[in-house]
């Protein structure tokens, strides 16, 4: 019997004919006709006109025919909702059929018909099927709940199906359990906050039991669900790991990868010194390697995941370099991924082999692959110092092949090698110069120009070479233009006599004939600099550049952490969080590695040193652009001759915008005497900010800075303000996500008259942090650090350090909104980060704030009434004496107490560090939890703050 004939009906009047056949009396003919309809449907023809005729065929004993009709229904019911109702009866009847296969078929199909009227009828049959005696029906019904939820979530909740579904997790049949888990996981995803899955040790135990018994697909559902669980402690974590590890030997790669996900996640909970931890690490390598003998598509998925795993835990695969060697017949997507991993695993131990391989690859056919291989050689040189020389000579060999794209790629990476090892390999410059003419890609041209400029003094005809580029200046890409400008300025500073004309030419090209603001601005800076102070110009432009770090294109740690939680899924293939490619609410919740994820683990391997490095924004292999900005930075730090904000700040700001507070704050942080930026290197924002003269606060500053942050601090202040003995918990001021891995939490305390800022600095990045410094923006009460930030030891990854910073109140003053807002800049070797926090105003109440009674009365009268503010403090259950005592510990002193008609009146005073007195009248009525407070002060702005302070003191 061949069915292919159904595909070949292209006659006219086909629909009409089919209609006749569908209504035929002969069963065989009917079936034939339905098959024809389905074939037409498949190729995309519209056969919805036949709806009533097809539905008429539904009442049949022939299961095959029934299935075909159902298939048709699923496709067209939506377009013919009224007609679809005709089918309901049959469905309901089928759900009662004696044959479990038919019951399941009916409930399965009904769930796929997305017509409201039908879903109403679905509820009763579904309820029965969920409790059917046959597991086949139950497992189908479980999935049907997810279908129904997709159509009408409210209905599912109202009908209580979710509870029934939860009960199915305890079903005796493993496949029912697996499907229930799958359905619940999906439903839970669209309700991120619901406690739907409610994973607890008992359910976990059930899942782990089912794991051993269900189908390979069921195992995947269960493992993916397990990965969302957070074990209570390391013991539970270990016991789950022990029961999941056998899955690593499953033939199904998806089971293996999902098991790897669970293990990678739960491993974070285990103490590193545990024997089991080491065993687990060893067990992970072989299955990962085995994945590479799967079909190419799966290899690709595996390699993308291994790329993540290697970044997170390089120790797992460090001895398995060979398996990532590229095979001649690998598909290109496998080749490119393997290459990436090879570089990540390259170390001193295996570099010889890796280099030999890379050289082999660079003679292959695929251009992308060859380019990547050449680039990889350069990355090896930067990563493994001992190999640099060999890498350079390999690159030179490749340049000799004269294959155009190989040469260009090689030059780009050689530039980076120069940056990493200055004054070591400059002998090759001559060879590079020979290839000047063959460079036609902007990146390669820019790299070459950089080299010529940087080493102008060693290249006899540097001026000629650069001049040759100038001819087509306006046809070059921006990258090349900027580089050319800098290179010629460098050349001029090195050989001023011969190149004056050239430099004038390029400056006028850049400033007068160009529409590009970046180019123009940079041109002007050089121009001004050269004309004002050539010596300074030399110091700036020819300053020593910071070395580039070894590891490039690492995934940012917080993203990596999230991706590890998504091992095996599309997110791990794209290396993007699900929210980047999934629409709607689904999958938007961010997953995090739980538990003590931060407690220094990724560092224990000796290999990891190489994996460390600057992690996010500062491009490690510095592009020509960044390099120039580097020059600009140094510019700003030189003598304060600038009048007004310097022009480079525009480009500086762009970079600064990556920081959490954006450019606006940068210019506010000005304090020209602070040499913070000196050793900073590559961050122009910093340079621009700190180098510039103290700017006038722009009006716009009062606007909330970064909504998210504000929320955070509101939260922080809600938690409570420190009062005398009461020290509020530290709140996170600077989340690691926004500060390249540096997390700062802190609080303020006043002890024995000394204000201290107590901070907890945590390094959540992969590299060591050093050179900490802190500075405040001007603020309402002149808070300033009384000493340097005492962090003497470098902060290793995943380490935390406590720091207490004594504060003085003699700093520059500027009114902030809110009054107690403090803007802080913290710097380390990576970057400068900005955050703002609010300090409790009681910190500023001095110990001698008790006013004489007489003076109090006089002052109270003296302060005009419009300066008085009244507030309500609600829900406070202290009596007046207790309140008075409590307040006293925060240097709020009670001067007198009066009782009128059962109402206690407390008269209180406090004095701020800047000498401002605040007077208060607190009325406490016995039995009434609401206090009334009147505040009087010559500077009424503080009233709001003082009130908040009252509130938090009394309530803590």
């Amino acid at each position: 019997m061949t069915d292919s004939k159904y595909f070949t009906t292209t006659k006219k009047g086909e629909i009409f004919e089919l209609k006749a056949e569908l209504n035929s009396d002969k069963k065989e003919k009917k079936k034939e006709a339905v098959k024809k309809v389905i074939a037409s449907m498949t190729v995309g023809k519209d056969v919805s006109a036949l709806f009533p005729d097809v539905v008429n065929c539904m009442q049949t004993d022939n299961l095959e025919l029934k299935k075909l009709v159902y298939l048709y229904l699923m496709n067209y019911a939506k377009s013919q909702p009224d007609m679809a109702i005709m089918a309901v009866n049959t469905f309901v009847k089928d759900c009662e059929d004696a044959n479990p296969l038919i019951r399941a078929l009916a409930v399965r199909t009904m769930g796929c018909i997305r017509v409201d009227k039908i879903t109403e009828y679905l509820c009763e049959p579904l309820r029965k099927c969920l409790k059917d005696e046959d597991p086949y029906v139950r497992k189908t019904a479980a999935v049907c709940v997810a279908k129904l939820h997709d159509i009408n979530a409210q209905l599912v909740e109202d009908q209580g199906f979710l509870d029934t579904l939860k009960d199915l997790i305890s079903d005796s049949n493993p496949m029912v359990v697996a499907n229930a888990v799958a359905a619940l996981s999906e439903i839970a995803e669209s309700h991120p906050n619901s406690n739907l899955l409610d994973l607890n040790p008992q359910t976990i135990n059930k899942l782990l039991t089912a794991l051993n018994e269900c189908t390979e697909w069921g195992q995947i559902f269960i493992l993916d669900c397990l990965a969302n669980y957070t074990p209570r402690d390391d013991r539970e974590s270990q016991s789950i790991c022990e029961r999941v590890t056998p899955r690593l030997s499953h033939a199904n790669s998806a089971v293996v990868l999902s098991a790897v996900k669970v293990l990678m996640k739960f491993m974070e909970m285990l103490p590193k010194d545990l024997d089991y931890y080491g065993t687990l690490l060893k067990k992970l390598a072989p299955p990962l390697v085995t994945l590479l003998s799967a079909e190419p598509e799966l290899q690709y998925v595996a390699l993308r995941n291994i790329n993540l795993i290697v970044q997170r835990r390089p120790e797992i695969l460090k001895h398995e370099m060979k398996v990532f060697f590229v095979k001649y017949n690998d598909p290109i997507y496998v080749k490119l991924e393997k290459l990436d991993i090879m570089i990540r695993l390259a170390s001193q131990a295996n570099i010889a082999q890796v280099l030999a391989e890379l050289k082999e690859y660079s003679t292959e056919v695929d251009v992308d692959f060859v380019r990547k291989a050449v680039r990889a050689i350069g990355r090896c040189a930067i990563k493994v110092e001992q190999s640099a020389e060999r890498c350079v000579s390999t690159l030179l060999d490749l340049i000799q092949t004269k294959v155009n794209y190989v040469v260009q790629e090689a030059i780009v990476v050689i530039k980076d090698i120069f940056r990493k090892y200055p004054n070591k390999y400059e002998s090759v410059i001559a060879t590079l110069c020979e290839n000047l003419d063959s460079l036609d890609e902007p990146e390669a041209r820019a790299a070459m120009i950089w080299i010529v400029g940087e080493y102008a003094e060693r290249i006899d005809n540097a001026d000629e070479l650069l001049e040759s580029f100038l001819e087509g200046f306006h046809d070059e890409s921006t990258q090349v233009q900027l580089q050319l400008l800098t290179a010629i300025v460098k050349l001029f500073l090195k050989k001023p006599t011969e190149t004056q004309e050239l430099v004038q030419q390029v400056l006028s090209l850049a400033t007068q004939d160009s529409d590009n603001p970046d180019l123009r601005d940079r041109g002007y800076i050089y121009w001004r600099l050269l004309s004002t102070d050539p010596v300074a110009a030399k110091e700036v432009v020819l300053a020593e550049k910071p070395l580039i770090s070894e590891e490039t294109d690492l995934i940012e740690p917080t993203l990596l952490e999230e991706l590890i939680c998504h091992i095996g899924t599309l997110a791990s293939v794209y290396h993007k969080p699900p929210s980047a490619f999934v629409e709607g609410s689904r999958g938007v919740q961010h997953k995090r590695i739980s538990g003590n994820a931060v407690s220094g683990e990724s560092v224990e391997s000796p290999d990891n040193g190489s994996a460390a490095g600057v992690t996010e924004a500062p491009p490690a292999v510095i592009q020509s652009h960044g390099d120039l900005l580097g020059d600009l930075l140094n510019l700003d730090l030189t003598p304060p001759t600038t009048t007004g904000p310097p022009p480079p700040s525009s480009s500086g700001m762009q970079m600064g915008a990556m920081d959490l507070l954006g450019g606006g704050l940068d210019s506010l942080m000005g304090d020209e005497s602070e040499p913070l930026g000196g050793d900073l290197g590559g961050n122009p924002a910093m340079g621009a900010g700190f180098g510039g003269p103290p700017a006038v606060m722009p009006a716009s500053f009062n606007a909330p800075v970064g909504g998210g942050l504000d929320d955070l601090f509101d939260l922080g202040s809600g938690v409570g303000m420190p009062m005398g003995a009461f020290n509020p918990p530290k709140t996170v001021w600077l989340p690691a996500m926004k500060a390249k891995g540096l997390e700062i939490s802190g609080t303020f305390v006043r002890r024995a008259g000394v204000i201290q800022m107590e901070m907890n600095l945590t390094n959540k990045a992969m590299s060591v942090m050093t050179d900490f410094a802190i500075q405040f923006n001007r603020n309402s009460f002149g808070l300033a650090s009384a000493g340097p930030l005492q962090i003497l030891t470098p902060l290793s990854p995943n380490q935390s350090i406590e720091a207490a910073l004594p504060l003085s109140t003699v700093g520059p003053i500027m009114k902030m909104e809110p009054l107690n807002n403090l803007q802080v800049a913290v710097k380390n070797n990576i970057d400068v980060f900005y955050f703002s926090c609010q300090y409790p105003i009681s910190m500023l109440f001095v110990e001698d704030g008790k006013m004489e009674r007489q003076v109090f009365l006089a002052t109270w009268k003296d302060i005009p009434n419009e300066n008085e503010s009244q507030f309500q403090i609600k829900d406070c259950h202290l009596n007046s004496d207790a309140a008075s005592n409590k307040l006293q510990s925060s240097n709020i002193f009670t001067i007198a107490k009066r009782t009128v008609e059962g109402q206690d009146m407390l008269y209180q005073s406090m004095k701020l560090t800047n000498g401002i007195w605040v007077l208060a009248e607190l009325r406490v009525q016995a039995g009434n939890p609401n206090y009334t407070i009147s505040l009087k002060c010559r500077a009424p702005e503080v009233n709001q703050c003082v009130f908040q302070n009252y509130e938090s003191v009394l309530k803590n």
Binding site: M1, D3, S4, I38, T42, V43, G44, E64, K67, L68, Y70, N99, A104, R108, G111, P135, Y136, A146, D150, N173, M175, N179, N212, T215, W217, I220, T245, P246, S249, A251, N252, S253, A254, V256, S258, P286, V289, T290, E295, E297, L298, Y300, K322, V323, K327, Y328, P331, I332, Y333, Q353, T363, E364, T401, G568, T569, A571, F581, V582, E583, G587
Partner: protein, 435 residues
């Protein structure tokens, strides 16, 4: 989960289209055709994202299978499912071709309805599926039969049905290995590994409990430490091998393997793959290829290749083929070989040298002169590696089957009544020597 599944022919015409999720529309069918099948470039990734829709595809001969989704699905699972889908189709109607798919489209829809529910893969074991999805239509089933089907489909032993009976209980074990090698021109092994499979054909009655044993180093070392029984004394004399990693068919009790390293299972009926394994240590490389390429001026190459067989002289290797790549600008080739036949195949840019049989510890040689057309192509010839194909009657990893015991307590046959056959075949995987 999987939102839809499409099958296309090489022209991009849809042969099968099954949509599981509402978020996948008909336009997805066209998007894949336009962006992937009709794309000018070579496929750069098996996963493609077009307008926030992800497409996973695999190709079988000239048929494209594509799974579509808009969610963050388990990518590994989707590919495993697509492979499984191919296996199931092959088991039902043979080769996956346009004709076969068109001929069986009703069946395929029926299968897709069963093995994928709302995009969630369900039981996809052919053994189970064949009990209730048949091309002959549904036979009248009794109630017992029905419940037997459903309990098998959902059960713990979904791969085997009850009540199987054979007059003769028989099983065949094939140890199939593919040996992979990458060797430098100087004869240094750059990488070598064996990926092996143990394929079992079982014709056993009832629900037999099987136990499989091989010369796995870990097991033998463990036994060696214990009291030396006769059996272990014998086996410890034999060489044991170190297995890097192995994976098992889902019938094998993994937790038992993890704790005791014993391989026990109830096998599916008929042919299936019991395990896969990988070894990298002490591999017997059956052949050594010694290349010698000399460029004589710009228009001539001299190639000499020696192959040496490296196994017991009593064994015979078969289907030996050596493929020596030639440059694209080859104009003519003269070949002399001592054994077998050699031919220059211009369309494949290679000299193919075939030898039917070759005993162990022998040596053979081919020499060729390759004439080149002068070109001004700057790019050097990439010199692809010399590859080899062969088949040998032993396992290059050194793996030996020690036992396969069968226990069936309910039926009256014992391990001794089962006729067992074991066969070892070693084939070349990617067996390359750079020149």
């Amino acid at each position: 989960m999987i939102g839809g599944l499409f099958i296309y022919n090489h022209k991009g015409e849809v042969l099968i289209s099954r949509v599981y999720r509402d978020d996948i529309g008909r336009n997805a069918v066209d998007a894949f055709r336009v962006n992937v099948i009709h794309a000018r470039q070579q496929v750069r990734s098996p996963v493609t994202n077009i307008a926030r829709t992800s497409f996973f595809h695999v190709k079988r001969s000239n048929i494209w299978l594509a799974a579509v989704t808009k969610q963050n699905v388990n990518a590994a699972m989707v590919f495993e499912f697509l492979y499984k889908m191919c296996d199931v189709m092959t088991a039902y109607f043979g080769k996956i071709s346009e004709e076969n798919i068109k001929n069986n489209f009703v069946l395929i829809y029926e299968l897709l309805d069963e093995i994928l529910d709302f995009g969630y893969p369900q039981n996809s074991e052919t053994g189970a599926l064949k009990t209730f999805i048949t091309q002959q239509g549904i036979k009248g089933q009794t109630k017992e039969e029905q419940s037997q089907i459903t309990s098998q489909v959902t059960g713990q032993i979904g791969w085997r049905r009850e009540g199987i009976k054979y007059r003769r209980n028989e099983l065949f074990l094939d140890v199939l290995e593919s040996v992979n090698l990458l060797m430098s021109p100087q004869g240094q092994v750059l990488s070598a590994h064996v990926s092996g499979r143990v394929v079992m054909k079982s014709y056993l009655s009832g629900m037999p409990e099987c136990k499989f044993g091989m010369n796995d180093k870990i097991v033998i070392d463990k036994q060696g430490k214990g009291i030396t029984t006769d059996e272990t004394a014998k086996s410890s004399g034999k060489q044991s091998i170190a297995i890097d990693d192995c994976t098992f068919h889902q019938c094998v009790r993994l937790s038992k393997f993890d704790s005791e390293r014993s391989i026990s299972f109830i096998p599916p009926d008929g042919e299936y793959e019991l395990m896969r394994y990988r070894t990298t240590k002490d591999i017997i490389l059956p052949f050594r290829v010694i290349p010698l390429v000399r460029e004589v001026g710009r228009t001539k190459l001299e190639v000499k290749v020696v192959i040496k067989s490296n196994f017991k002289p009593s064994l015979l290797a078969q289907k030996i083929e050596v493929r020596i790549p030639t440059p694209l600008n080859t104009s003519g080739v003269q070949v002399i070989c001592m054994k077998g036949k050699a031919k220059y195949k211009a369309s494949e840019n290679a000299i193919v040298w075939k030898i039917k049989r070759m005993a162990g510890m022998k040596e053979s040689q081919i020499s060729a002169e390759i004439e080149l057309l002068p070109t001004n192509d700057k790019k050097k010839w990439a010199r692809p590696p010399i590859s080899m194909n062969f088949e040998v009657p032993f396992a290059p990893s050194g793996l030996k089957v020690r036992y396969l015991k069968v226990f069936e307590s309910k039926l009256n046959y014992s391990d001794h009544d089962v006729i067992k056959w074991v066969r070892y075949i070693g084939r070349s995987g990617i067996y390359e020597t750079r020149c």
